[in-house]
Amino acid sequence: MQTATNLAPDAPDLKSNRLTLRYVLQHAGIGLALLILVIFFSIASEHFLTAGNITNILTQITINLILAVGMTFVILIGGIDLSVGSVLAFAGVVAGKVITLSGFSDGTLITMAVLAGLGTGVICGLMNGLISAWWGLPSFIITLGMLNIARGAALHVADARTIYSFPFSFEEFGSIMIFGVPILFLLALALVAVAWVVLNFTVFGRMVYGIGNNEEAVRLAGHNVMFYKVGAFAICGACAGLAALAYMARLNISSPIAGIAFELDAIAAVIIGGTSLAGGRGSVLGTLMGAFIIGVLANGLILMGLNDFMRQMITGLVIIVAVIVDYYRARFSTT
């Protein structure tokens, strides 16, 4: 029989599935697009490829990248989370209220605020997940509800006012640079790495892809589909909380009107990064690329001196083109 030929290819299989040429090629489309943008802007503006501007870009994509990492989990599982912008605001004002309490040391306040911000995000995410998974309702609608609930809660908690005057050490933390790289971006990058490991090397990640592809097959294989779905939403909520903390560290305020329409940029980053809106296919590395494309575009077009309205039109066009390119990429890579 052909057992011999069957066995042989298994040795390099471990890697060929994950790290080697095919994997790189799958991401080449989006990486190439980013490269073209970078080259184009480098020629168009002398300021683009400068250390200071690269630092700027890294700062500017951080919040969207954190949100988009969480969004990747939800979209991979076949859902969507429209509430992340509002949850960012809510988690931000909760953390802001906590961090501006009096009578505690700075260290205590910061610890409590981080827990409060993350906790708020996780709770909102859990609610999104539990409600949509328990009743089997489309997450589009449930998170649309949460978009309003969290925004209202943020305005209510903050009494519609901006919260400011955080502990000095917290404000300083947000502006730390390591060799010109903002520490907040490094943290976001670490988050990408963790998400990548979780998605590729853990049972949880396998289930996220499995459910996105074929929920019924996963259920019949004896797995608790609801647990993983709720987990994906909780991760997305935690990321919104984390993004809120990054927002506070960067701008030294928390605002109940922060994050309006941030969900759209996060979804755009995920989709541009090649993750399928239908779920089951995609990668958080693609999301990283997607966030870069959006950030580079916003930055580069301003440096070129394009006016606001042109800028908006071009950004929209790029999103559409990226998705069309991905459509063909997906078709060629599957057959």
Partner: protein
């Protein structure tokens, strides 16, 4: 988004029901139509109006706020509801300076005293509809010019500045930009760039950081509101630039603190918390037989510096 509008409409009707009451000549009913209460400025104004109503005690306040800055549909619904309820006066900060003219005309035809504050209704639209209506409010253009002048005085002639604009299309955003531009022209400043950051801190932070990269020689920044000025100040700190001066507008507490620290050169106080209360006073005077208001009743503005 339709769904949001639905919630807004539902919230509007509920709050109206809750405060519904009966007409009384000596105890007039005043309907206050606000813009977005998610905006700190209008939130303060609302709180000021409620405190004012309690203090005066001789009129009844029915107040309605909107979901967002541009939600004029809810405002139209609120005006119509007030007409049905038979209020004596409507005091309104219009969300759209054209769309609100027609419903307000209906209110006036129903014998209701209408006072327009905060943002002036569009002059052409008023003429077209045959509406004569005074405007009570600050001169945004003049206020912006005051802030711009303060910046110009610090920089001197030829100073290189950029403008961070508010929402494109919003009337006060336009007025403030024009005021900044007046100042630029009068003092011979060099305007390098002018962009919108949609009134938002994070957006202003991003947009300004990029403008600074493109124009590292910027010396001064005119931000059309304090939220955006805060974002600009953070961008300057991140870039390690303490040589650039910033002016804002609105005098919100967070900005006032920055002025105190010297990080913000100046901001403009238009006494927002009193603005609605003042307009209500004027409306009640007319209801009680005082003379009709005419033209532009200017409310005070003040430059806030260290």
């Amino acid at each position: 988004m339709k769904f949001t509008k639905f919630i807004a409409a539902a919230a509007t009707s509920v709050s109206l029901l809750a405060t519904a009451a009966y007409a009384d000549a000596d105890h007039p009913k005043v309907g206050l139509v606000m813009k977005s209460l998610a905006n700190e400025f209008f939130q303060n104004m609302m709180v000021g109006a409620e405190a004012h109503a309690e203090k005066r005690g001789d009129y009844e306040l029915l107040a309605v706020g909107m979901q967002n800055e541009t939600d004029f549909e809810s405002q139209i619904n609120a005006v119509n509801t007030f007409i049905t309820q038979g209020v004596d006066a409507i005091v309104i900060a219009p969300a759209d300076s054209r769309a609100m003219v027609r419903p307000l005309k209906r209110a006036m035809e129903a014998g209701i005293t209408v006072v327009n504050f905060d943002v002036a209704l569009d002059a052409d639209a008023k003429k077209q509809q045959g509406v004569e209506l005074a405007f009570v409010g600050p001169d945004n253009r003049q206020g912006a010019k005051m802030a711009g002048d303060a910046l110009a005085a610090a920089l001197g002639e030829g100073g290189k500045v950029v403008i961070i604009e508010g929402n494109p299309g919003a009337d006060n955003a336009t007025q403030r930009r024009l005021g900044f531009e007046d100042s630029v022209a009068e003092h011979g400043l060099n305007l390098l760039d002018s962009r919108t950051a949609y009134w938002e801190t994070e957006e202003a932070n991003t947009v300004f950081a990029n403008m600074l990269t493109a124009n590292p020689d910027i010396q001064g920044v005119m931000a059309a509101n304090d939220s955006m000025a805060i974002g600009v100040v953070q961008a300057l700190e991140a870039a390690g630039r303490d040589d650039i001066l910033v002016v804002g507008f609105d005098n919100v507490p967070a900005a006032k603190a920055l002025v105190g620290e010297g990080k913000l050169l100046a901001t403009i106080d238009q006494f927002g918390s009193e603005m609605a209360a003042n307009a209500i006073d004027l409306a009640i005077d007319v209801v009680r037989g005082g003379p009709e208001l005419e033209g532009w009743v200017r409310t005070p503005i003040d430059l806030v510096t260290q």
